[in-house]
């Protein structure tokens, strides 16, 4: 029930936005937008894996050199996901050709 409700709300808002603001735009632009969105998700995943891997290694290194005890669970913080998405967005826009 909750899943259907949430998916219904998102579908309705997407349909409303498309009708209000996207009327007359070519359909291939929609496919291209989906592709770019997936690309950004892919870049975010790469950043997330990098951040988690680096965090894991640094925590182990800190333990090994005696700097202090860093729990491996520190890498489980949800802010890492949000910051990885932010990194991906910046990286993606940086890669795009400059607007004239």
């Amino acid at each position: 029930m909750e899943s259907a409700f949430i998916l219904g709300v998102v579908t309705l808002s997407s349909a409303a936005a498309a009708m209000l603001f996207m009327r007359g735009r070519p359909r291939r632009r929609f496919a291209s937008a989906i592709g770019k969105a997936l690309e950004t998700v892919g870049i975010a995943a790469v950043f997330l894996f990098l951040n988690l891997g680096l965090g894991f290694c640094l925590a182990l290194l800190a333990r090994a050199v005696g700097v202090g005890f860093v729990s491996l669970y520190v890498n489980d913080d949800v802010t890492i996901v949000i910051l990885s998405v932010l990194q991906a967005l910046v990286f993606q826009w940086w890669r795009e050709p400059e607007e004239r």
């Binding site: 029930m1 909750e2 899943s3 949430i6 998916l7 592709g35 969105a37 997936l38 690309e39 950004t40 998700v41 892919g42 870049i43 975010a44 995943a45 790469v46 005890f69 729990s71 491996l72 669970y73 489980d76």
Partner: protein
């Protein structure tokens, strides 16, 4: 395949995984496969409650659940000794001490309570527990921790020398239907699977 194509494929796979975990019972199916049914409880020489961290000066949700389960087991007469573990984390107050205060307020006599705050990982906790309990001839223990954490914790405590009777606590929202709860379950499972893999690679399991 170009880098752009590979990123799109990765993004598509992740979105498919997200949808499967959030909007289908996939996480529950995985949970049942990873965790298995709980074994029957038996009396033991001690009840050992593993640490689960502090949130500022307060017990975390998981820590409180484990501590309460330990107290319930003690009051049911499952063991004569209640061992509360847990270090200070980022704060000044040790988790074990907060749990001991809670157990006292819930009627557990002080002579039945043992606190130790040295263990920072499950492996360290198993060694510390052995140091505490071997001189008291308490080899058979009721181990209290999260249901998902239990297989790894049991293995480490058996390696330390204990005969382990698992007494798991539900910490993750198994059986939930809200998408965010399903994602929390998937995240918890993934975290535990990574921890098991790390312990195997490191030679601890």
């Amino acid at each position: 395949m170009t880098a752009r194509g590979a990123l799109r494929l990765l993004g598509g796979l992740l979105m498919a995984l997200f949808a499967a975990f959030a909007f289908t019972p996939l996480a529950d199916v995985m949970h049942r496969a990873v965790v298995g049914p709980p074994p029957p409880l038996e009396p033991a020489r001690a009840i050992v409650v593993l640490g689960a961290g502090m949130v500022g000066p307060q017990l975390s949700d998981a820590s409180l659940r484990r501590a309460l389960h330990g107290v319930v087991l003690f009051r049911q007469g499952r063991g004569p000794l209640l061992v509360m573990l847990g270090g200070p984390g980022d704060g000044a107050t040790a988790e074990a001490n907060v749990r001991i205060r809670l157990a006292r307020e819930m009627g557990v006599p002080p002579e039945a309570l043992v606190a130790d705050m040295r263990g920072r990982t499950t492996r360290e906790e198993s060694r510390v527990s052995w140091e505490l309990l071997a001189p008291r001839a308490a080899r058979k223990i009721l181990l209290v921790t999260g249901r998902e954490h239990m297989p790894r914790a049991s293995a480490l405590f058996r390696q330390a020398g204990f005969e382990v009777v698992p007494a798991p606590v539900d910490e993750l929202p198994a059986g939930a239907v809200r998408p965010q709860d399903r994602l929390a379950l998937a995240r918890g499972l993934l975290r535990e699977l990574v921890a098991r893999a790390y312990n195997r690679v490191a030679g601890y399991l």
